[in-house]
């Protein structure tokens, strides 16, 4: 039995199943990160000596990472747009760039983490580092998850392109929505942790 509206759009809702699914999932993600940001505010306002972000963290590395992630969002859109224009070869290039930029982000983050750990600044050091590691760690998990899905669409998942190009394009669009969300979370994280 075939499930309706996996590819085609339902007329009265104007959407296919996947798009509703990903937006609902993102709504729950907003609540997840929202709760963590709210906790950050509560703990910070209750603290007598909260350090300014740029006095403890290296904002230059983070600025570089911000640029990396924003660029990867652009390449993500380009990957999807190439599929819309039926150019599978360019899709592969842009998708590879997206995954690699995600990798660059993680490598920079690795250096940042190991630097702080060398200085003895573990999560238990202070509540600043506790929320720093929790928020960025959870965000990194999301980056990694997005990379896995995107790599799948670059590699084995791309077989669907032969059979059903519209379905494949939709899938890339939905994983792109997730990728932009992860990017957006970082755009909130960056000033909150590194600058304020």
């Amino acid at each position: 039995m075939d499930i309706p509206y996996t590819v085609a759009v339902r007329r009265d809702t104007g959407l296919n199943n996947g798009k509703i699914g990903i937006w609902l999932f993102l709504a729950s993600e907003v609540m997840l990160f929202g709760a963590l940001f709210a906790s950050y505010i509560l703990i910070r306002t209750g603290s007598p000596n909260w350090p300014r972000g740029d006095t403890v963290l290296d904002y230059r590395l983070a600025t570089f990472n911000t640029i990396v992630l924003i660029t990867s969002s652009v390449t993500m859109v380009m990957a999807w747009a190439s599929l819309m224009r039926r150019k599978f070869g360019t899709f592969r290039i842009y998708m590879a760039a997206t995954v690699l930029l995600g990798g660059v982000f993680l490598v920079v983050k690795y250096f940042e983490y190991s630097h702080h750990l060398h200085l003895g600044e573990y999560p238990s050091h202070s509540n600043f580092f506790a929320i720093y590691y929790t928020l960025t760690g959870l965000h990194m998990l999301h980056v990694f998850g997005g990379m896995v899905v995107n790599a799948y669409f670059w590699g084995p998942g791309a077989k669907l392109w032969e059979k059903n190009p519209v379905w494949f394009t939709n899938r890339v669009e939905h994983s792109g929505l997730f990728w932009h969300f992860v990017d957006l979370v970082w755009i909130f994280l960056f000033p909150t942790l590194y600058l304020l």
Binding site: T13, N17, S28, M31, G46, S124, A130, T134
Partner: protein, 457 residues
């Protein structure tokens, strides 16, 4: 379902979460001991079982999250031809709103769970205040955390969660009442609007569980006001269900007996909740047996009776055979009487001021002496109620093979699921169903039978 693989993933997450929870009984020090609320800081300094509890919770939250996305998408996208939102059976509406609550209320608890896990595993102090003294020693953590933060995040889930428990129950009761009074539900639209409003309001009442934290009168005033407001839609739904009984030629079969007992039981549970929602009367009643009695009147004879009703009602659809009516009625009368014997005394004990979670149930306190004997009454009620579940369990398994054969639409119902064969084949429906009218067209004037199904042209 719109996403069958996600459905399966949701199931296996639940399975893993359940295994983790059960496995935690075997770790040194035993399972989590911090109560279902896991209040910090006690839960942070508790034994290893608590870590397992947190990991289990993360699996369970993931499972319910995936389920909620799937339910919502399916409800929005896979409606049968002609099935508009206002033609939904009330049960579908209640599941729809419930899924939204799960989708949006669970992630903050997941965040809280991650932070508590960090506190326990990585030694952070999200929920540990500075200078916390445990067993005569000042804890060596960084401090500066906020124990009340855990309560906020926890109740942000846990209040919507009680609506997750009760809304589907209301939906089941509505289906069965409409079917067995042979009348349309009275005020279907206002019930739907009340349901949506209820779902929305359930997000802004959570701190009425926290009047004892000293959160300040302005906050308390806000949350007691929203709490009073949220009782209105519940009353709308309950009233509509009671009025639906009026003038019907009621069939008292087992599902209907459970469904009508839901109404007064939920009524008692709801009305006894009002004093708990008001700051001033909550303070003496907080954490006493009164709270336990109130909560259990809502979810034990409320939700559980609705679940029993639902099992007796949809059993023929799932298996093709009916459950025994005689055993069902024995189960019903025994459960109804014993349920009240168990929980009614707890109101008396609670009003006398006896707290819950005392290891000796209060026998060491003078003020509790006058009500100690009620505990024995509750215990007798609980054991006898347990015995009355035996006919149900027997009935459930025995009827799978030996029950009376049931045709597709055994209750002469009007909603779409009754157009499927019993038991349903793969894909549920022999032919794709279509909705031609509203869900409860019973006793239509001029019609030759007293039900006009949604699915008949």
């Amino acid at each position: 379902m719109a996403f069958p693989k996600i459905n399966m993933a949701s199931y296996w997450c639940l399975f893993l979460g359940g295994c983790t929870m059960l496995g935690s009984f075997l770790v040194p020090g035993g399972a989590a001991q911090s109560g279902w609320t896991s209040y910090a800081p006690l839960s942070v300094i508790a034994g290893t079982g608590q870590t397992w509890w947190l990991i289990g919770m993360i699996f369970l939250i993931t499972s319910s999250l995936l389920g909620a996305v799937n339910f919502l998408t399916t409800t929005i996208q896979l409606r049968a031809k002609g099935l508009t939102f206002m033609r939904f059976p009330f049960f579908v509406w209640s599941q729809f709103v419930t899924s939204f609550l799960l989708l949006l209320a669970f992630p903050p608890l997941e965040a809280a769970g991650v932070m508590q896990l960090m506190d326990r595993v990585a030694g952070t102090s999200f929920f540990l205040p500075s200078g916390l003294v445990v067993s005569g020693q000042v804890l060596a953590n960084a401090g500066g955390g906020n124990a009340v933060l855990w309560q906020h995040l926890f109740w942000f889930l846990a209040h919507p969660e009680v609506y997750v428990l009760i809304l589907p129950a209301m939906g089941i009761v509505a289906e069965i009442i409409a079917n067995n009074t042979r009348k349309p539900l009275w005020g279907y639209r206002s019930m739907v609007y009340a349901l949506i409003f209820l779902g929305f309001m359930s997000f802004i009442v959570w701190a009425h569980h926290m009047f004892m934290t000293g959160m300040g009168t302005t906050m308390a005033a806000f949350f007691q006001t929203t709490t009073m407001i949220i009782s209105i839609p519940s009353v709308v739904i309950l009233t509509a269900l009671i009025v639906s009984l009026w003038g019907g030629s009621i069939r008292f079969n087992t599902p209907m007996l459970f469904a009508v007992s839901f109404l007064p039981m939920f009524g008692i549970g709801g009305l006894t909740g009002l004093p708990l929602g008001l700051n001033i009367s909550d303070i003496p009643l907080h954490d006493t047996y009164y709270v336990i009695a109130h909560f259990h009147y809502v979810v034990a004879p409320g939700t559980i009776f609705a679940l029993f009703a639902g099992i007796y009602y949809w059993y023929p659809k799932a298996t093709g055979r009916k459950m025994s009516e005689t055993l069902g009625k024995i189960h019903w009368i025994g459960s109804l009487v014993c349920m009240n014997v168990v929980f009614m005394p707890m109101f008396i004990v609670g009003l006398a001021g006896v707290s819950r979670r005392l290891f000796d149930a209060g026998s060491g306190y003078d003020f509790a002496q006058g009500t100690m004997h009620w505990n024995a009454v509750s215990s007798w009620g609980a054991w006898i109620m347990g015995l009355f579940q035996i006919p149900f369990i027997f009935n459930f398994f025995y009827s799978i093979r030996n029950g009376e054969k049931a045709e597709g639409n055994v209750w002469q119902a009007t909603t779409i699921e009754w157009s499927a064969p019993s038991p349903p084949p793969h894909g549920n429906f022999a032919i794709p169903p279509q909705a031609y009218r509203g869900p409860y067209e019973y006793s239509v004037p001029g019609s030759d039978k007293d039900f006009t199904p949604q699915f008949e042209a």
